[in-house]
Symmetry: C2
Subunit: 220 residues, 2 copies
């Protein structure tokens, strides 16, 4: 019996036997490493990093602690890897777009975020909720560089648009905050109103509507 076969059998037996364990995002085709990442994200997303114990993650993934520590070294290392995976994919979508004028760039930006959220809503909501975690919590330390990069990119869009929008005089910061605030707040609250099982979906029409609200205010 191969190692991977063993692992799968064990996971299946575990999922069927202990019964309190719920393996949601994972399936038996995953290796242990991927299953740990998926289960950890799922638990962090729904209960928060601090409120989830290593033990709990191991139980959900059907492995034991040394296995987790073999791959990630520490709980913080596991968090870092989840963040890296999530943001790498988000940035990939983000960097590929952004040509054209302000409105087009803002649409691409908004679209990248909502598209990513649609495909990986647990990852997105977890990553973005860390945006607002306390400054002395290690989760903030981990997410801060990524956040700064997103924020910087938003500021950039407004800076490049000073021709169309006039001298910015620091307003690009406020615009960037407002824009990100609008998107994040909308997506985070959207998660509330959706059935917990499915992904969230932001239709084209809503994207346009959000952008319009940001560009022209509430007087349509």
């Amino acid at each position: 019996m191969s190692r991977s076969e063993r692992a799968e059998t064990r996971a299946a037996h575990h999922a069927g036997g202990v019964s309190l364990t719920i393996i949601i995002e994972s399936n038996n085709n995953m290796g242990n490493r991927e299953r740990i990442l998926a289960c950890a994200l799922d638990l962090f997303y729904s209960k928060g990093y601090d409120a989830v114990g290593i033990q709990e993650i191991c139980q959900a993934a059907g492995i034991t602690k040394p296995t987790l520590y073999h791959y990630f070294g520490s709980k913080y290392g596991l968090l870092e890897m989840i963040l890296k995976n999530g943001f790498d994919e988000l940035f990939q979508t983000l960097e590929d777009r952004g040509g054209g004028d302000v409105e087009a760039a803002l649409y691409d930006f908004l679209s990248a975020l909502t598209d990513y959220a649609g495909a990986n809503y647990k990852a997105y909501l977890f990553l973005m909720s860390l945006y607002y975690s306390p400054r002395e919590n290690e989760t903030y330390r981990a997410v801060q560089p990524y956040i700064a990069r997103i924020h910087g990119r938003a500021v950039q869009i407004f800076e490049r648009a000073s021709g169309k929008l006039g001298n910015m005089n620091g307003r690009q910061e406020q615009f960037a905050m407002g824009f990100l605030g609008l998107i994040n707040h909308y997506l985070l609250m959207l998660g509330d109103r959706q059935p917990p099982g499915g992904g969230i979906c932001v239709p084209e029409e809503t994207k346009r509507s959000l952008l319009h609200q940001f560009l022209h205010g509430i007087y349509s």
Copy 2:
């Protein structure tokens, strides 16, 4: 020696002696109950609810665990009391205003939030960061009713304005989210750029500017 004299002496000695303990928001004129609340808020604000232990709060407040449990019954009870205190004060400011047309109502709303944040920025930032905490975390359960009330009030403003803004058809929800997102995101990020010791301050001019951005978009 009276009980309160004893308490003050002990607190002073503790603050001076153990030296790692930092009593920030409290002073010796407070009773134990108030000192516990102040120290707990301070710690929750900077490290997060889950990451702070009862022991740590007691040490900061210069008391022992049974004292804390005498007043609040549990860690969750302590959180509830902090939330109640904070939001009661915020709602008081919020309910007193709100007459006039949309723009005036929105200004009052924004002003109430920023004024409260200016006077109690740790409380405000803590309360609002819970806005984005995971849904299955007990902190979200505790803050949810308060959040719903704020959100409902924002929606109300837009609903009352359907005369001026035309048929809302559900857009009032999106407007409310955008408005709250703008304010919260701005204030939360503002905390980043301020010296950690002092309070944050939102001058009249900035309030107007934020409102203008929301009402009319970015094309000034």
